[in-house]
Symmetry: C2
Subunit: 492 residues, 2 copies
């Protein structure tokens, strides 16, 4: 953004290969494409820069559209939670206490009660739900907020992947029955599927987490694991079936049709837009820089006019005309008429991940036939000026479908069955997700999970929630009969 | 939102008159229309509820559209500012220290350095600007963020008007010359004019604040004062010319065309969406509830089908058809087919401020002629089903223009010239803004301003920035020759 016309960025070299050194590639792209600046002087906090913010605003739009169309209403809750709320739910406080930033003073005055900067908002929201929900006609009650949360992370932080302040949506729903709440969990997974996979091309596994890895206070957690190019999985939107635990603690009751008071059944859902962007960057990007899905790209079409002083006027006129036609159809377009050479412009905007480029020169003005450069496959297509907006929209859909299909195939090849600890080790070394028979994801399996963590520096991610996979053999760790087919991977 | 179908809100009575008791009216409308819930258990923090959030999201959209179209890029800076940054600019720390919430601990660990929850972001952003701005081609540099800020307010808090956490946009711009920066101040005022006045119908005075009332660290401040029905002004978006004070402290320099290093000239601008909504609610609302401008209303058109069991199917089909036609043209529409009686529905949605209502019964299905109820004037207009979207859009524009004109006339009558302290006192008692001759808004006038504050419980708001008003007489307080024509009012 900022420097694009400064001339200082003329020599954008991008000589780190994603496949060879993903970690460096990721850092480099964040710097070069000006996505975030890690030089802010508080550990673990970064500045999200315009190009990334514009992408994340789009991700917000996509998520909010889905949430609203499934009956969720938006609210904004306070960022601070009084300590007494925070302590109400035992498991929750145990899980989140090590991660809480505390606000203790207003100016020089010590506050009567210290306040947590919300690491998540159950304990802020549910006391209000208790006031709002009275009868069965108030249910289902579906609400979300777009918000940032703060966590005093002790793990290493990286922009977009893990930082001490991150941007997400949290949905918190209440139902009259257990069955409806469990259906909501499935609806949440469908929202993830629709937005993250269908629209942004990020494949994932919806995994029911083992007992020891669920959300603090939940009955069970379904995490969405997507994969990074270095073979580590990253948890994407997770959804939690909370049962009635929080309802009992926060006293969220309703009078049912039969006149009896009952506690509500709850779920919550937490897609982080900064993390989703991390996967989008990492999965689709290549050795020339970002490749942004048409759906989120801040600029979808870049127009580069190619002129001499003689024909400049006519060519710029044509470029402006095309820009206008595209804007009218809500296509995000920019003309780069800076003084850089065309080649430099191409290179710069390819690095920024703009899906399409149209070059307009003498020939294009005459024929009305335009060449569309496709960022992902680096090939050219011909489109016609007359129906340009329609054609771009079609190409946009095709673009995103190509990204998704490519990612799907890649993801599929990265999951392999392992019959022994040795195979598992090889799989992990080969940057893969291992699928294997495992004793159990309930408490009794925790010992084997510890082996995975300590010896293999990986973790048991859980069992498929979207389909039943039957275990037929023995746990590859303890040899007991396997109750579950689990996925094991290194993780962020 | 939540309770709309619960049946519990059946008896919405609204028997407080806005003109008679604005303060109670305001509290009542916030409760009845479910805009905010003040029962959150931290002093000065409220929950913003869906109906208000949807309005404020629209205000954000309107502001961001203007800011982007004037060359601003969006960013997200951390919410926390290390104490050392905060202390760099002397005036700034003096002004904001009494208002800062401090984060001191991460879990049980005392932080090496405590962090301010940003009350405003100069001291977060400008250290980054120093890294980003190098040469004259980097200028102008125009950036904004949508964000919430926190202030440990000691004044009484009220939802939307003043709370310890509020939602705003802050724009922070840098220029090569003083002249350009001062032009930006004017552009900021134009943005306020376009969004708050033109689109939302809230009139205001752009006033250059007296020396003693400017933003801490600014050379001068232009505040936008709009008026509440109780005769108190409320500060709306203010814009500040910062000169080079912050630039020198944060070392924001650029190499100019002549090869010399110079400090940038800065401005900042801060429209608070929660406050803007406070004015929208207060100015347009009436004794039946909210009246929302078409531009921000979460629902612009409410359709009420009126049917018997016999003709329900046909009427619902027509209602759905109209809804579809409107949605296609991006009009926000809802069918209320709940089990409430039509009269109840009318009453409820009038209270919520929905601009238009269409009732669809047997007759409407037959004739294709529809009756549009206009919330503001409580009159009916006829529209035709065939061109419904176009007609609604036209009516929407007319609706907002009516609101604006009405507010403008009201506002104009509320400003009166005063030639003496007695006239001034009467004006303030009469819920008016007084215009009078005043010695000076620079330091030498501070004594007279103290008289205003202590004796009249009002304040000197400043001089017009958009036009020059020549003082001809003597200061009505000290009798010295008046340098300025000032506006004096009670204020929030």
């Amino acid at each position: 953004m900022v420097k694009e016309s400064s001339g200082k960025e003329k020599k954008i070299t991008f000589n780190i290969k994603k496949e060879e050194n993903f970690s460096e590639w990721f850092s480099e792209i964040i710097k070069k494409a000006e996505l975030a600046d890690i030089r802010y002087n508080v550990k673990g906090f970064v500045v999200f820069m315009p190009w990334a913010v514009r992408c994340m605003e789009k991700v917000y739009d996509l998520l909010e559209e889905e949430l609203q169309s499934t009956g969720h209403e938006p609210a904004w809750f306070p960022s601070v939670i009084p300590e007494r709320n925070f302590k109400l739910e035992g498991e929750h406080i145990k899980g989140f206490s090590p991660q809480v930033f505390w606000v203790t003073h207003g100016a020089d005055t010590k506050l009567d009660e210290r306040m947590a900067l919300r690491p998540t908002s159950e304990t802020a929201m549910y006391q209000m739900y208790a006031l709002w929900i009275q009868g069965y006609t108030d249910l289902p009650f579906k609400m979300y907020q777009r918000a940032q949360v703060w966590r005093y992370e002790t793990k290493a932080t990286r922009p977009f992947i893990r930082s001490r302040e991150f941007y997400w949506i949290e949905g918190h729903d209440c139902f009259a029955t257990e069955e409806e709440a469990e259906k909501q969990v499935l609806e949440d997974i469908r929202v993830t599927e629709k937005v993250m996979h269908k629209k942004l091309g990020v494949p994932f596994l919806a995994l029911r987490r083992p007992e020891w890895d669920k959300f603090p206070g939940a009955v069970y957690t379904i995490g969405s694991d997507s994969l990074m190019p270095d073979g580590k999985v990253i948890q994407q939107p997770s959804t939690h079936f909370l049962g009635q635990g929080f309802a009992k603690v926060f006293n969220i009751k309703f009078t049912d049709k039969d006149g009896k008071e009952r506690y509500v059944w709850q779920t919550c859902y937490g897609p982080a837009v900064s993390r989703i962007l991390a996967s989008v960057i990492s999965i689709h990007g290549d050795d020339n820089g970002l490749v942004l899905p048409y759906n989120v790209a801040p600029i979808q079409v870049l127009i580069v006019p190619i002129y001499t002083t003689k024909n400049k006027k006519g060519i710029m006129k044509k470029a402006e005309k095309i820009k206008k036609d595209l804007i009218e159809k809500d296509i995000r377009v920019k003309i780069d008429d800076s003084e850089k050479r065309p080649g430099e412009k191409f290179f710069f905007w390819e690095m920024k991940g703009v899906p399409f480029r149209i070059e307009i020169g003498e020939k294009e003005v005459k024929t009305g036939k335009l060449t569309l450069f496709l960022r992902d496959v680096k090939k050219r297509a011909t489109i016609h000026e007359k129906k340009i907006a329609e054609e771009i929209k079609k190409e946009g859909e095709a673009f995103d479908e190509r990204l998704r299909k490519k990612a799907d195939i890649w993801f599929k090849t990265r999951i392999i069955d392992c019959k022994s600890k040795e195979e598992l080790e090889r799989a992990l070394q080969g940057k893969k997700i291992a699928r294997c028979d495992f004793c159990s994801i309930s408490k009794e399996g925790e010992k084997c999970a510890e082996v995975v963590e300590k010896q293999l520096l990986a973790s048991v991610r859980g069992v498929r929630h979207d389909k039943f996979e039957k275990a037929s053999g023995k746990c590859i760790f303890c040899g007991r009969p396997a109750k579950h087919v689990v996925y094991i991977a290194k993780s962020y």
